[in-house]
């Protein structure tokens, strides 16, 4: 699935897949040599005029002053558009020997996990305070349209501070997309080691602003697992939830999509383990560890909150948890099982 400029409109502020100017495709008519030095001298002016006029025409792709071949070069999506370009250039007084017209692929905007997305979906960047995290997954809590991210992706880990979230950042879009409404306090005693504060999930819930659209059951999909891409090429659909498992069988393959390392995949190595959070007095109880057998990097700073899922068939997935941390080299990540999340946040409906 690709997103055209037209389909996304102004939503996606992203990099353009250019490169057409330097490596022009084969023109549909042979380039005529400009035999007059005067004509060459006029090319910059002609380009300035023609660029404004030609790119306003339908089905045009690019305008280029091709200095290598001393000509203007125009790209169009199909042969039917050539006539209109030629007419426009004639009106500007530009001789046919001074330009070429090539049929070329349309240029698409590529949206990344760090761009603005409306409606929102899992796997995309969110911003609060001076921090960036990942929107894990959209879910309804009763009638409340919400998203789930980490407890440590709030103003304070544990306890509700009404943290306000932006997407992708407040500087790109100042709309508060959601506000933290649920983040249970960490507890002491009981199953919690002495001197530590504990919870069974690093999860919090944010309630969407009424004006902000969200798609339940959608997680952004990039081009492939463990390839480093953050360009969105499609969508995973959450068709089921694992609400009962906190101990995953060793070797279970799970995936996540996060704003820093994109779509990554590994196998569970340890399950229902108690994990101390580095340089803190927090212990997360009954968590699952994931690594790639080949040592691929699976997690990076900013991936906190990523939804963790199993692929069931095609792009259909089963939600199993939420990622919150990893080792310093990024080759291991830790997630809280969905069962634990719902134990602390209540029943969530995350399927489409």
């Amino acid at each position: 699935m690709r997103f055209t400029i037209a389909s996304l409109g102004p939503i996606v502020a992203t990099s353009l897949v250019l490169g057409a100017c330097a490596d022009a495709p084969n023109p549909v008519e042979p380039p005529a040599q400009l035999d007059a030095a005067a004509a060459q001298d006029r090319l910059p002016d002609w380009f300035a005029q023609a660029s404004l006029v030609v790119l306003a025409l339908p089905s045009t792709v690019f305008a280029d002053h091709d200095e290598v071949n001393d000509r203007l070069l125009f790209g169009v999506e199909n042969a039917a558009a050539i006539r209109g370009v030629r007419t426009a250039l004639t009106r500007l007084g530009i001789p046919s020997s001074a330009y070429a017209i090539a049929v070329t692929e349309p240029i698409y905007q590529v949206a990344t996990l760090r761009d603005r997305w409306r409606p929102t979906q899992g796997g995309i960047q969110i911003h609060f305070g001076n921090y960036l995290c990942t929107l894990g997954f959209n879910a309804d809590d009763g009638t409340q349209r919400s998203f789930i991210t980490n407890s440590h992706c709030t103003g304070k880990q544990g306890g509700v501070q009404s943290t306000q979230y932006y997407q992708p950042t407040s500087s790109v879009d100042g709309t508060v997309i959601a506000t933290e409404v649920e983040d249970p306090q960490y507890f002491r005693g009981g199953a919690c080691p002495r001197g530590r504060k504990c919870r069974y999930s690093d999860a919090s819930r944010a309630l969407y602003s009424s004006s902000v659209g969200s798609t339940r059951g959608a997680i952004a999909k990039t081009s492939g697992a463990n390839n480093g891409s953050i360009e969105v090429s499609g969508t995973f659909t959450v068709t089921s939830q694992d609400n009962t498992t906190s101990s995953f069988a060793g070797g279970t393959t799970v995936n996540k999509v996060g704003r820093t390392t994109g779509w990554t995949r590994g196998n569970t190595t340890n399950s229902c383990v108690n994990v101390n959070v580095s340089r803190s007095n927090i212990t997360q109880l009954c968590q699952t560890l994931v690594q790639d057998p080949d040592g691929a990097v699976l997690v990076g700073g900013g991936d906190s909150g990523s939804g963790v899922f199993r692929v069931t068939s095609g792009d259909n997935v089963q939600l199993v948890g939420i990622l919150w941390g990893g080792n310093s080299s990024g080759t291991l990540f830790v997630f809280s099982p969905l069962k634990n999340i719902q134990q602390e946040l209540g029943t969530l409906v995350a399927t489409n």
Partner: protein, 167 residues
């Protein structure tokens, strides 16, 4: 200065003190340089690890990371963790890493945006208790250390710095 050259110099400094042959130090430098993926630091950012030249055996080794922005405009750093997270590697002169500060640690995968004003300097001070990652005391001798600042992608590394643990 290329990374491996810096390692070589640090090891040679240690080698001089310990009378090791130079070619052995070269081989160890190459070995150390390949251990961890690191990223390029922005031109205006200077990272430096400060370590005393010599520390008595059994005494904590102070290790100070200095991060300085020498540019003329504010610079946003994207750093991993809610607070600045720094790994330290200490290696023997034979190339064996004996201590990693964050070995086995689980770090939240949040990204912290820290804006540095022109000329602003951040300081992170830690101590090494002269024990290996496994908890055994290390022997006196020459060592090298470097700091790794966890960032958005691969960590930013200082150059290796040589020091001695006295008998």
């Amino acid at each position: 200065m290329p990374f491996s050259t810096a390692v070589t110099l640090a090891l040679l400094a240690a080698a001089c003190a310990a009378d090791w042959p130079e070619h052995a130090a070269d081989a160890r430098a190459a070995d150390l340089a390949e251990r961890t993926m690191t990223a390029s630091v922005p031109d205006s950012v200077f990272l430096r690890l400060i370590v005393p030249g010599e520390v008595r055996a059994g005494q904590p080794v102070p290790l100070g990371l200095r991060i300085e922005h020498r540019g003329t405009r504010p610079l946003d750093l994207y750093l991993r963790g809610r607070a600045i997270t720094v790994d330290i590697e200490v290696a023997r002169a034979d190339g064996e890493v004996v201590w990693r500060r964050l070995e086995g640690q689980i770090i939240p995968a949040i990204l912290h945006i820290r804006t540095l004003a022109p000329g602003e300097r951040l300081e992170v001070d830690v101590e090494w208790d002269q024990r290996t990652t496994g908890g055994a005391p290390v022997a006196p001798g020459a060592y090298v250390a470097r700091a790794l600042l966890l960032a958005e992608g691969d960590p930013w590394a200082t150059e290796w710095v040589g020091f001695r643990i006295g008998g």
